[in-house]
Symmetry: C2
Subunit: 97 residues, 2 copies
DNA sequence: AAAACAATTCGATAGTTATCAAATTAGAAA
DNA sequence: TTTCTAATTTGATAACTATCGAATTGTTTT
């Protein structure tokens, strides 16, 4: 287990706005699981009280921590959750009784 | 779900040294599950490259995030994991497929 | 080609944080 | 009561971060 890497993941989720951003991406992935084309960022940006530069910064942090993938679809940016990484985090937080 | 509270928990785990500290406390709780008297801090402090003031600071952060409880036993400080909070985190990170 | 839209980059700033050394408190042992 | 050990507090500093406005890049629409 790589403590550095995991700490980075937690740091990525440690800002309230960034955490909500992440959860929105997860939510989107859950609701459209079969047809999942990813989560359009411009739609999400409207719902937050922070500007595009900050959203962009937060997305970079989440990507850097490998919690999400992003991809350009023409004019838009779409985001998907990296479920493998989330599994890893859950594994780390499991308590063996 | 309280985003602020959860973000605080993630922040508490976002520093590598603090994460290892937390994991040590968990580990101790796991190995001595039945006889669990808590984890003695002075033993742990020796194993880290950081001084007592910093350990103290990190413990406060973990306590503040309600990830652990601490209690004085005479001269010593013992720590235990707040399993309810860990469960909450695991719940938040679950992805519904 | 021009205008419009989505997103990123840059530079700045106010606020936060990890860490230490020194001093202090609390308790146990001598 | 003096000494030793465990832990905390305080004050300082260097490093990092969230956010913004302005400027820029990339893509689509007109």
């Amino acid at each position: 287990m790589d403590t550095q890497k995991m700490a980075k993941v937690f740091k990525a989720l440690s800002n309230p706005n960034r955490l909500e951003l992440y959860l929105k991406i997860v939510e989107n992935q859950e609701t459209s699981y079969k047809t999942n084309q990813g989560c359009l960022m411009c739609e999400i940006t409207e719902k937050f009280n922070i500007g595009p530069p900050t959203i962009s910064h937060h997305l970079k942090e989440l990507t850097n921590a490998e919690l999400i993938f992003t991809e350009r679809k023409g004019k838009f940016l779409v985001a998907k959750v990296n479920e493998a990484m989330v599994d890893e985090v859950n594994e780390l937080l499991k308590i063996n009784k």
